[in-house]
């Protein structure tokens, strides 16, 4: 990874948090005098801290000073932890539960759980079809017995089947 790209990746999370805090602060000012008191206070504090974090994440002299002030010792932190991890793998890991919930929204939990578990075990885990089937059957049965039979809870049926 090039030094410039690494620097940019370091700055990305604090910049995103700074954008969030400024957005939050602006939104807080839209409320009445009393209702905005605490959110405005928190918004300002968060914005200042995030700005400091942006500075701390830049590998400059000022950044070193801010890092030292908040760490209590002279530090030379390299890349922010995790930026070295492949982004694609993280995206895939997030997409699995997202896809699961999207399908659940339409079809409900009980039909989707076996499909999700089976596909996850076989495609993501590269396990055998037999292991996938066993894991899918076990998880679905456990969910049904625990929530539906033992506890009598309602299990979401999805937009398609909830009538």
């Amino acid at each position: 990874m090039s030094a410039t790209r690494s620097k940019a990746l370091n700055l990305l999370p604090p910049m995103a948090m700074l954008a969030f805090s400024i957005g939050f602060l602006g939104w807080a000012y839209t409320y009445g005098e009393r209702a905005q008191q605490m959110p405005v206070l928190v918004g300002w504090i968060m914005s200042v801290l995030c700005a400091l974090d942006v500075v701390a994440s830049s590998r400059t002299r000022a950044g070193n000073l801010v890092r030292a002030l908040f760490a209590g010792t002279r530090v030379d932190r390299g890349a922010v932890k995790g930026t070295g991890k492949p982004i694609a793998r993280s995206v895939v890991s997030i997409l699995w539960p997202t896809a699961f919930i999207s399908l659940v929204a339409v079809f409900g939990f009980l039909p989707v759980i076996p499909v999700y578990v089976f596909l996850f075990v076989v495609l993501q885990g590269r396990k055998s079809v037999r292991q996938g089937l066993a894991a899918a059957t076990f998880t679905t049965a456990l969910t049904f017995v625990l929530f539906k039979l033992a506890l009598g809870y309602e299990v979401y049926q999805g937009l398609l089947f909830s009538g």
Binding site: A35, I94, I101
Partner: protein, 502 residues
């Protein structure tokens, strides 16, 4: 007090009480033994199952979990050199060398005995402190609660190691999220974007399930492989009784570890990891044979394990008495209390003494029962850590999300759990501590309500916070905490300059 304790014991020894305590212990042992899960995830997953239960029964279940997680974690620490939960890391130093020397049974026996006795000592300290805590909480008004909430957040941010700045940012982020929804002080809603679901605010259970259970599962998916990083399937356990006897032969080590654990547990934000490492360090310093540590000295297992379990009793003191959680586990536990219609804080101790005692009794018994069950199943429990994450992840995600929906039958809760799962994962990935966000999310309402009440008491003046000595003292400590790293840097620089000058 005695009456409350007796009725709590009577409740626990019903069929239902024993059953749920047992379930809690087994779940706690399992989640403790599997690195990356831990008590926080276990409690988050179990919350929906307790919705229809009596609070006392639910607390029996959670007492079982909290009392057993630490011992579960020590089993994988000793047998696989992989701490189940971070506080078990200190146990690895001597526990794993003992296992390599063929003394795994003695190490597990010592860990089991130290855990259960440590848990009992922690609970005894909690019981002793409750009457004093009751008197203290009566001195607290809104300004003190606001100051205490700020102190809790500052202390927890400071405890996040080298991530103090990001810990503070996470705390502010959690407070920002806590403002979403109906504003109980001023009326009207805030930060909802017109989304009806958000009018009630961010629901704590889906948010916590997301931040911990779902985020951990996303993280495990990214890592892949098996749960334990250094898996060894050849675990042999024998001569457990040697370890049990060793604890009774070294009572000062046990008492010192337990005392340190209970004391540190009561300080918000410091947590079990610090407690067990300090207990370990104190034992090494007190030893006549310090060079034997790290090579399989059984005292190196007894000290951290006793501290690890005793800290729960200590951590319950600020959680129950002031509604200020000292750890992520306790923050989730606060969510459980609210879910069951109890408001943690002064009134909890004064009006729900019986409920408080059922939890305490459950915690005490769980520590003992967990050790007994743990000894019987230790070998098999260690093998759980060799489970492939690709089998574990879809099962945990499915059960967690079905549970989240089951709470209020709202699909919005499931979406919130997913959103917070992604937020939690990103926070893990980019080093923003989740614990301060969680604690701020839980404390947000208390902080804002106390702030407005204080301003009303002070006739609109902010000086109210500085004219009452408890609130002033708490705020001064908070300022000191925030300035601690800068002060440390200044002192280090001066020392270095002095050395150079000499």
């Amino acid at each position: 007090m005695l009456e409350s304790a007796t009725s709590a014991l009577a409740l626990l020894f019903t069929m239902e009480g024993v059953l749920f305590l047992g379930i809690g212990v087994v779940v706690g042992l399992l989640f403790g033994a599997i690195p990356g899960l831990g008590g926080t995830t276990a409690i988050a997953l179990l919350i929906p199952l307790t919705y229809g239960m009596q609070p006392e029964t639910a607390f029996t279940l959670f007492g079982g979990v909290m009392g057993s997680v630490a011992f579960g974690g020590s089993i994988s620490a000793i047998l696989l050199n992989t701490p189940g939960i971070p506080p078990n890391a200190a146990t690895c130093f001597d526990g794993f060398p003992m296992a390599q020397q063929g003394k795994a049974g003695a190490a597990i026996g010592a860990a089991a005995t130290a855990s259960s006795l440590g848990g009992l000592i922690g609970v005894a300290i909690l019981i002793a402190v409750i009457p004093i805590a009751k008197e203290i909480v009566l001195l607290f008004g809104p300004p003190e609660f606001f100051a205490l909430a700020m102190l809790g957040l500052g202390a927890i941010a400071l405890s996040t190691g080298g991530h103090f700045l990001r810990g503070l940012i996470s705390g502010a982020f959690g407070l920002a999220l806590a403002f979403i929804g109906f504003d109980a002080v001023n009326g009207g809603t805030r930060f909802t974007g017109g989304i009806e679901y958000l009018f009630d605010g961010i629901q704590i259970v889906p948010a916590l399930t997301g931040l911990f259970a779902i985020a951990e599962m996303i993280n495990l998916t990214t890592k892949g492989g098996i749960v334990a990083s250094e898996g060894r399937a050849d675990v042999k356990i024998s001569r457990v009784s040697d370890g049990v006897k060793a604890v009774f032969r070294n009572l000062p080590t046990l008492l010192r570890g337990s005392g340190i654990g209970a004391f540190i547990g009561a300080v918000p934000g410091v947590g079990g990891t610090v407690a067990s490492f300090i207990a370990y360090a104190a034992t090494v310093q007190a030893s006549k044979n310090p060079e034997s540590f790290g090579k399989g000295n059984i005292l190196g297992v007894i000290a951290p394990e006793s501290a690890n379990n005793a800290k729960d009793g200590g951590a319950l003191i600020p959680t129950l008495a002031f509604g200020i959680p000292g750890s992520a586990e306790m923050a989730i536990f606060l969510g459980v209390l609210v879910l069951h219609g109890l408001e943690p804080g002064p009134l909890m101790l004064l009006e729900h003494e019986g409920t408080v005692f059922s939890l305490i009794v459950a915690l005490a018994l769980a520590a003992v029962i967990a050790s007994l069950i743990g000894l019987a199943v230790a070998r098999y429990l260690a093998l759980v850590t060799l489970l492939d994450v690709h089998i574990l992840v879809p099962a945990v995600v499915s059960i967690a999300l079905v549970g989240v929906f089951a709470l209020h039958s709202r699909f919005g809760d499931v979406v919130v759990a997913l959103v917070f799962g992604v937020i939690g994962y990103l926070m893990m990935r980019f080093d923003y501590p989740r614990i301060t966000a969680v604690i701020a999310l839980v404390l947000g309402e208390l902080a804002e309500r106390s702030y407005h009440q204080s301003i009303m008491i002070g006739d609109g003046h902010i000086t109210i916070f500085f004219t009452r000595w408890i609130s002033l003292g708490l705020l001064l400590v908070t300022v000191l905490i925030v300035l601690t790293p800068a002060l440390r840097l200044y002192l280090n620089s001066r020392r270095a300059t002095g050395v150079r000058a000499r």
